[in-house]
Structures are given as structure tokens and as C-alpha cells.
């Protein structure tokens, strides 16, 4: 039961990442694409946590922490660059 629910959650998170990719393709401005990138990385942090539960490995959570840190830095730097004040 628990494993089934976790698999369903992983599939739903993958679906939401697919919708974000659709906005990434469609988006008119570059800010739209950065927002879609942000949502994709935040959703993938939750997905990595679910995968680390299913694989019973705590080391994958370190991957999630570093991934969140890098996506935060990327969004900040791209936004400052688009604002032309880097």
C-alpha cells in the first residue's frame, strides 16, 4: 500500500515536470522559461527524496541538497543577468 502510494506520487511529480517542460517550450519571454526551470528543479528535489526512500539509501538526500543549492544559484544569476546588473 505504502509503496503503491509512493509510486503514484512519483508519477504525479513526473507529470507536473512534463507540464513545466511544456511551459518551457511555449513560454514567450525568457523569464517564463526561468520560472519553468525553477519549478522543474524544485519538483525534482521532491522526486529525488521519493527515490531515495524507495531505494533505502540516505546518500541520495545529499544529492537533493546540492541540486537545490545549484538550482537556486542558477536562478539568481540568470535573473541578475537578465536585469543587466550583473
Amino acid at each position: 500500500m505504502v509503496n503503491t502510494l509512493m509510486s503514484v506520487s512519483a508519477v504525479i511529480i513526473l507529470l507536473s515536470m512534463a507540464l513545466a517542460v511544456l511551459r518551457f517550450i511555449k513560454g514567450k519571454t525568457s523569464i517564463d522559461r526561468v520560472i519553468a526551470f525553477d519549478i522543474m528543479t524544485i519538483a525534482s528535489v521532491a522526486l529525488i527524496a521519493i527515490i531515495s526512500y524507495q531505494a533505502h539509501r540516505v546518500i541520495y538526500l545529499d544529492v537533493a541538497i546540492v541540486y537545490g543549492l545549484l538550482s537556486f544559484l542558477a536562478v539568481i544569476i540568470i535573473a541578475k543577468y537578465l536585469e543587466k546588473s550583473l
Binding site: 500500500m1 505504502v2 502510494l5 509512493m6 503514484v8 506520487s9 512519483a10 504525479i12 511529480i13 507529470l15 507536473s16 515536470m17 507540464l19 513545466a20 511544456l22 511551459r23 519571454t29 523569464i31 517564463d32 526561468v34 520560472i35 519553468a36 525553477d38 519549478i39 524544485i42 519538483a43 528535489v45 521532491a46 527524496a49 521519493i50 526512500y53 540516505v58 538526500l61 545529499d62 537533493a64 541538497i65 537545490g68 543549492l69 537556486f72 536562478v75 539568481i76 535573473a79 541578475k80 537578465l82 536585469e83 543587466k84 546588473s85
Partner: protein, 117 residues
Amino acid sequence: MELAGAIITLLGSLVLLIASIGLLRMPDVYNRLQAGTKASTLGTILSLLGIILLEPGWIGKLLILIFFIMMTNPVSSHVLARAAYYIRIPFAAGTVVDKLETINEARSDNTDMRDET
């Protein structure tokens, strides 16, 4: 206890799905930012809380991750909204108020202020 954790994780993933639907359907950059960031923060935090209930031994790293997401996600949202405003991305048709307008006019008179940030 484990069933409660799984249900909370499922709830968090549904909130993430709502975030992506809002990202697709909102008419404007600012509305998309609002819908996407708030809902994705809540969804990720709910998913990680569910995994805390499932595996109580991992509470240290998961709490670090939750604290990190609570700190960084509003900051990146604010920086993106600021960049979108100052490169003058137009509002949606139904926007009624722009409280930054006078500040923006004063800023365009004195362009040297931008270098201070």
C-alpha cells in the same frame, strides 16, 4: 504512521501538479510566478514531511532540506519578479494597480541608481 506519511507525500505531489497547471494556465509572467512558486514550495515541503513520517531516522537531512527550500524559494521568486519588472515585461489585460510605477519613473530619471545594487 507509514500510511499517513504516504498520504502526505501524495498530497504534496498533487500540490506540485497544481503548481504546474497554474504555470500553464495563468495569463501573465507575474501570475505564473505567484502560482508556481507558492504551490511548489508547499508541495515540496509536504512531500519531505511525508518522508520524515516514513523514515524517522532521516529527519536531520530532511529538515535541512525543508529549511533550505523555505529560505531560498521566496528569494529566487522575488529576484525573478524584480527582473521581470525592470526589463518591462507587460502586465496582463486585467491588471488594476501598479504600486511601483512612481518609483520606476524616478529610477528612469536617474539611471545611475541601478549600479548601486
